[in-house]
Subunit: 631 residues, 2 copies
Amino acid sequence: MQFHHYGYVSKDPKRKPAAGIGLNRPAELPDTMDVLIVGTGPAGMITAAQLSMFPDVHTRIIERRDDRLVLGQADGIQARSNETFQAFQFANEIIEEAYQLTEMAFWNQDPAKPENIVRGARPVDDEHGISEFPHMIVNQARVLDYFARYMEWSPSRMTPDYGWEFLSLEVSEDPADAEYPVIVELKRVMEGEEEYTRTVRAKHVVGSDGARSRVRESIGRKLDGKQANHAWGVMDVLADTDFPDIRTKCAIHSKEGSILHIPREGGYLSRMYVDLGEVPEHDNHKVRSTPLEKVIEKANAILTPYYLDVKDVAWHSIYEVGHRLVDGFDNLPDDASDDAVPSVFLTGDACHTHSAKAGQGMNVSMQDGFNIGWKLGQVLSGRAPASLLRTYHSERHPAAAALIAFDKEWSTLMATPVDQLDDPTAVEKYYVEAEEFAAGFLTEYSENLITGTTEHQDLATGYPVGRRFKSYTAMRRADAVPTHIGHEHIADGRYRIYAFADQPAASEPSKLRDWAEWMNNDSESPLNRYTPTGGDRNAVFDIKVIYQQDYHSFELFDAPDVFFPRVGPFELQNLENVYASLSGDDFFEARGISRDGAIVIVRPDQYVAAVLPLEDTGTLKAFFEQNLLEP
Amino acid sequence: MQFHHYGYVSKDPKRKPAAGIGLNRPAELPDTMDVLIVGTGPAGMITAAQLSMFPDVHTRIIERRDDRLVLGQADGIQARSNETFQAFQFANEIIEEAYQLTEMAFWNQDPAKPENIVRGARPVDDEHGISEFPHMIVNQARVLDYFARYMEWSPSRMTPDYGWEFLSLEVSEDPADAEYPVIVELKRVMEGEEEYTRTVRAKHVVGSDGARSRVRESIGRKLDGKQANHAWGVMDVLADTDFPDIRTKCAIHSKEGSILHIPREGGYLSRMYVDLGEVPEHDNHKVRSTPLEKVIEKANAILTPYYLDVKDVAWHSIYEVGHRLVDGFDNLPDDASDDAVPSVFLTGDACHTHSAKAGQGMNVSMQDGFNIGWKLGQVLSGRAPASLLRTYHSERHPAAAALIAFDKEWSTLMATPVDQLDDPTAVEKYYVEAEEFAAGFLTEYSENLITGTTEHQDLATGYPVGRRFKSYTAMRRADAVPTHIGHEHIADGRYRIYAFADQPAASEPSKLRDWAEWMNNDSESPLNRYTPTGGDRNAVFDIKVIYQQDYHSFELFDAPDVFFPRVGPFELQNLENVYASLSGDDFFEARGISRDGAIVIVRPDQYVAAVLPLEDTGTLKAFFEQNLLEP
């Protein structure tokens, strides 16, 4: 964490100095704004948190409720989400309060006594070390709290606008509305205040307003999906029990039905998804009136021979969800011209609905928001061309389709009685095989203006272009602290450029040195073209070097000047961009980096944008010409 | 972290439910209180934070300043302090914002060119893995902030009372004052308010009011010490420099003098202690008027051939400190009767002053406060006999004496020009040898009513009686999370009892099972004698078991009932007290635990109180008869 360079920071250093809109942000929702986000769920809040780091963009996020979410809703957090939380500076805090999921137990009918359940397999959750972060369970409300903190402590000093219900929007094509083309009708619904409607205008609207999204309706998008709805009774319970795996995630299939059992944070609470079966086509939501007592009774029947004496129910609900995917993630018609720019976007449950069984929903929704957030920020602050916004749909729609395909398979398997499976261990097997997908790491973006080709993939085999950058530990030269370099990548909207050095010593001539010289001094280098004059030298690009040699074999200032950008009012050198592979834990080997060095460019949302040879400055230059604008 | 068992916790779970005084705590300083702490430095704040966990004790902490400390003062944090911070639930947060100290560099005169400095040894900071926590540097103000949060989120909802200056106190022997014998004169000094004096009364006063303590003066205690004062110019600077170790802690000895250089948190700030030499006996504080420019000039001369271009000075001061130790840590005269109870205590700089060079001050002061805090809490809540308060002086006075002896040697060595040392590497050598002391781990309390004998030390050689409990990782059976068991020991005033099992399987008869049976069911067991009826079963003792076998070889409920205490309004079982040695990382081997099992009792301040055989319930019973009272 870097601070004090804009002056002494006495309080929590995660609170950044105010700037731009944050210097005098209107407390009340204004009539016009750059971005209006509808809904404070995970997708909306991460979008807002990311945009809050662009203080020259005025973003507002509205919520129908009076105040923050208190309880209920999603709770499963993939490792990929924890990596994302690290970018929003709260991973370690939320991990400390969460339930950590290290293994899962499968309970099936006891062949000897079919009315009883008996434990089957107990696979390890992340057997292959997919991430250094855990898989965990925590109340969605806490995730939202932490995003709210990041927003509030950002330069924009952003807070949600509660008590506003979204009614409808219209995208005006009237040239008079060119600056703020999206016209939005809202209703004031704050407890204790009179209701009234109001019109506001925005450059862009992000609909993060859930499965029954009115933003989606307003732009004429539809959820498609054939599969029938499935219902679950969901409850957060405090219970007395003799079930030995009460603190282990379990998939339980008994004669009486099935339960997905999820221990919750704090050591006592459990969430149970009790399967209520397929909903008949013309049920007309009758299933939603299933009484809580019946759900508890069914849970007890399923858990036989164990008892579950429910002492308190913190929250419960009947979920009824099908597998549905929106036909488009923005408001551009299929026949839009090549230079058309979408003005409305959909994220999260507004785009994709599916079962809760794989614990995917909140996670995928947050990746939607992380994706659109930085793109809107860069475009609206004039740093990137508007065409960047077209990549939102083209990247996230396939990701959502993959999720739904996965969830269909998984929930079908979960719902099939064991005796009807060809292989009685099929569920466990699928779970283990799907581990990497389920943890959120199989998203792979295709080539576009922010994702390069795989031509030079062999230079960094551990960094597949289009996949998320998988962190590794290196020794920070300045202070000899072994550092997960990916953890330094906070959600500030900047590109990261990792220069992996070739073999010569840091003080000797090398390809790395030539590259650094070019980057720092050539007037055509991205650093010189896109960095605003007068600002911090690392305002747009965060450039780090990783040497192959032990850190004691060279001196800090042997590294080229480009790695010591001057920042802040005192023009101090940032000294924390020089790293060395750890002795005995070689970064280059672990991530398949060529000994001839390589450049790895990482997007603001942590996805690998490009892998290039040190000497190929032409392609590097061309890459950023596609996606950045000169200030 | 355990929560939800008193009802659903929606916000930060570190915020505990209010109780006792916290339900209706007077916002204004009252006329009478149980404990009055004077001064919000590290010693005072930890005392208050610890006492805040005793909501039936009304504690107040006063401070002359208007508000929290903003900057300056101490910054060195030993690993032992981080262990302590873990008990106050902020270790990981403060580590994330701190500078981590992994190695130190020694710079001396270049033999070839004596006007220049050249790097000598560069020893690793914690070569022997003394603690899993780092040695670090962070602004004292942040340490205080975190203690303030713990207090405010405790059941007592405690906050400091700012704007009160301590004038004097008197301990009344008038029987009419028996309830609140300490009569304290205060002055209101809040900016913008009129000054006035006021009398308040307390059962106990803790003087944490620094080197010029008026509490100390009021009880007639004196600092003794012969050595002359030594002066340093201290400054927190933002600077441009070519000194390659600017981000490494350095002891620099040049022809021109010496500097202790300490990089600070945030990547840019440095603290430099520039040696201004011994202060002549009749200097009359003239040294304190040394101008900042002169200190910077001297720093530059010492750093030759490197430059230090100071851009901003966040804080600076001239320190003038000698080695002094108070003659007593409380107000009891030497000839006090055996049953006399001290009513006034001194902590931190009020008791011991020394150089800042070893980074010890804040750390030792916090251990003073941690020590007196739980003792006052237990005595005033009726849980322990008043004689417990006598152990404060007897434990902390020797610890302070050891600190001063260490610091004398260290600062003498640091102040000696290299060419006058018999061995030019003497400074580095001493530094490495003294590592364990400097990290705060050599404090060893002698036998007394809370520290048992070493008779059975061989049963747990890694847990020397009287030393701090050194944590280790075990597998928590309930949820399969590898857990540092010491990190679960929060500063809640409870004793910990770790039952290391003997060899039989958890479900089989064993000495462990007999012990558990006795503890749970024998009316004479400490659990049954000292636990208040109707309250949580783990209110006084937190009892955990560690099995030798792999966790999958037994079931959770194979462990005896005593490890599943019922808590909260729903009388839920706490399921997180059953542990297993990790396969391939054996707790028993790492900490020298006998395969026949052992009981290790740990005090509320994390020091090992006793090591006993499982079968010696008599000694266990007798131990607590000395230091606990039946409710």
